[in-house]
């Protein structure tokens, strides 16, 4: 009897510990949710009064109430489109090479190691590479092209890794069927494998675009301007982007410029968060998670 009572007590205590844990875990989740919403609401409260058509279609100005984000938005669109144009063929091509063609040798191992290393390099160091290689050595200056090439190198590991993952999810039987019918590996890829892997690759691309739009540090390094009173003319034109314009406004002491920054943040968040949401929805449709191994 006595020992049974002791066991009961022990169980009760165990249940209590579990309850404490569950409460703490729920609080942790709630905390991250609250932070996310506070951040969004804070930006809306500060920036919404400034957000109007004139703000979206004006050039920056010394007077905060006249300033707008037109060149920053246009610059962001140009840089992102160019970055994607460089990064997607390079990334998907590399992924296909590594998954399908690469022989098991030292060179392939070196490529793998490089990709793993690049994934961990801070974005500002890519900016330094862009400054040294594209702006100086290749004489491209502080241009849109320099910015896009730099960002393309920055997002390349992300594109490669996500494209490889989606290529791996394609059933082996599809390969075997195509090859058995006499297709070359490229024919199999082009007509069978890539179409099946496409939604997965697309998810990675959307995340990449979202990352490129929000990136500021490498562009500051290569000298993207913080005050631009013109729209970019061609790929060799100087430029600014939305995150850089926001950074510029945040760093000023005047409150009125902070309101401009907040209004810019609303626009930036609207774009990046909806891209993120889109990629999550896409992925959830695709992904059936592997069950736990026994």
């Amino acid at each position: 009897m006595k020992s049974a009572l002791g066991t009961d007590m022990l169980l009760v205590r165990k249940r209590q510990k579990e309850k404490v844990f569950l409460v703490l875990a729920t609080l942790a989740l709630l905390f991250s949710l609250v932070v996310l919403f506070t951040l969004i609401i804070d930006a809306f409260l500060d920036g919404l009064p400034r957000l109007n058509l004139k703000f979206l279609t004006s050039f920056p100005s010394r007077k905060p109430e006249e300033a707008g984000i037109l060149p920053a938005m246009v610059g962001s669109i140009y840089v992102t489109v160019l970055t994607t144009l460089f990064a997607i063929p390079l990334g998907v091509g590399s992924a296909v090479y590594l998954e399908v063609y690469a022989p098991k040798n030292r060179l392939s191992a070196a490529i793998e190691a490089s990709i793993a290393t690049l994934g961990g390099v801070p974005s500002i160091i890519y900016g330094m590479l862009g400054l040294e290689l594209f702006a100086r050595v290749l004489q491209l200056g502080r241009s849109l092209l320099t910015g896009a090439l730099t960002l393309a190198l920055l997002v390349l590991p992300i594109v490669i890794v996500s494209a490889r993952e989606s290529l791996r999810t394609v059933p082996q039987s599809l390969w075997e069927a195509a090859l058995a019918l006499g297709a070359t590996r490229w024919q199999a890829l082009k007509d069978q494998i890539l179409p099946v892997a496409f939604p997965g690759i697309l998810t990675g691309i959307i995340l990449t675009v979202s990352r490129a739009i929000g990136e500021a540090a490498p562009l500051i390094m290569i000298g993207a301007l913080t005050y631009v009173a013109f729209l970019p003319r061609g790929v060799l034109s100087p430029f600014t982007t939305l995150p850089i314009q926001i950074f510029n406004w945040v760093s000023r002491p005047q409150k009125a410029f902070h309101a401009n920054a907040a209004a810019g943040i609303i626009v930036l968040l609207a774009v990046t968060l909806s891209l993120n949401a889109l990629s999550i929805v896409l992925r959830n449709r695709l992904e059936k998670r592997a069950p736990r191994t026994l």
Binding site: F21, S123, Y126, W186, A217, P243, S251, L268, L269, T293
Partner: protein, 301 residues
């Protein structure tokens, strides 16, 4: 017959072309890596011809743009250490709690709601976090700690912790998810409760994966630039006080490049010397994390 041969020959040519093209594409990764390492070492070499390595590592002042120049990286390391350790102190406990909950307790439905929200947190651009730290969190903290300076390590540190939280929770959760079900069932068979299985079996079994997630998060925090440039200030100080302005390595690099420094000058080379230190830190942290995760995979897969 001839027609078939022609088609076959063309298919083979295409195949060879594509294989070579994609091979060249994949070389870009190697050249980028070599380019980064080469550039950092080359410019740092030029820097260290003018500045003594020993004084770079031991001098306690960092004033490269002043008349009386000091090139001691310790104050910058100190700033980086302060902000990143605060970030990890915030992200690690929250991340583990969330990971255990999502992996062992949450229904698939709950998990499908919670994980995307965490991912959205990771998708917020870092300038936005900078704005939030400087203009929301710092004023909020000032009400509790009146001595807090307008620029400080505490507020960006906390916000950075929230920024890297999804990294910790999702990688830790992956590690726990990969722990074999048989281990759990063995625990239940011995009469363990769910909580005991989660904390005394799954968590220790996934420990190397969880550690790897901390290290990756730390490395991400060290390289984070905009958040600390906006909210931590630009005053290199050898201090462990989180309430005063500091300057991180990344903030120094960003601030100097805002000022348009001409190439070839000592100021220009300074950012590469600091960049080299930054690169070495993140490189070795990532290497350790990769090794840990590999070991974890070898054991359970």
């Amino acid at each position: 017959m001839k027609e078939t041969q022609r088609v076959l020959r063309r298919a083979k040519k295409e195949e060879a072309f594509v294989r070579h093209l994609f091979f060249v594409f994949s070389l870009v990764a190697i050249f980028t890596t070599l380019g980064i390492i080469g550039m950092l070492f080359f410019e740092s070499f030029l820097f260290f011809r003018k500045v003594n390595v020993l004084s770079f590592l031991t001098d306690t002042q960092w004033t490269p743009l002043f008349y009386e120049k000091h090139f001691g990286i310790l104050p910058l390391l100190c700033g980086t250490f302060l902000t990143t350790s605060i970030a990890v102190l915030v992200a690690a406990p929250l991340g583990i709690l969330i990971a255990i909950f999502l992996s062992e307790y949450a229904t698939p439905r709950t998990r499908n709601i919670c994980k995307p929200i965490l991912e959205v947190l990771a998708g917020v651009p870092t300038v936005v976090y900078g704005y939030f730290a400087l203009l929301f969190v710092t004023p909020l903290l000032k009400r509790v700690i009146p001595s807090l300076a307008g620029f400080n390590a505490l507020s960006p540190g906390i916000v950075m912790g929230i920024m890297i939280l999804p990294l910790v929770s999702s990688l830790s959760e992956d590690a726990m998810h990969a722990v074999p079900q048989s281990l759990r069932e063995a625990g239940y068979a011995l009469g363990s409760t769910k909580f005991e299985v989660a904390t005394k079996i799954v968590f220790p079994a996934a420990f190397s994966g969880v550690t790897a997630s901390f290290i990756l998060a730390l490395s991400r925090a060290i390289g984070e630039t905009m958040l600390v440039t906006i909210a931590a200030g630009s005053m290199p100080q050898l201090t462990l006080n989180p309430l005063v302005p500091v300057m991180t390595m990344t903030a120094f690099i960003a601030t100097v490049s805002l000022g348009d420094v001409p190439a070839g000058t000592l100021e220009y080379q300074t950012i590469f010397a600091v960049g080299l230190v930054l690169f070495l830190f993140t490189f070795f942290l990532n290497l350790i994390a990769r090794r840990l995760r590999q070991r974890f995979r070898e054991v359970y897969q």
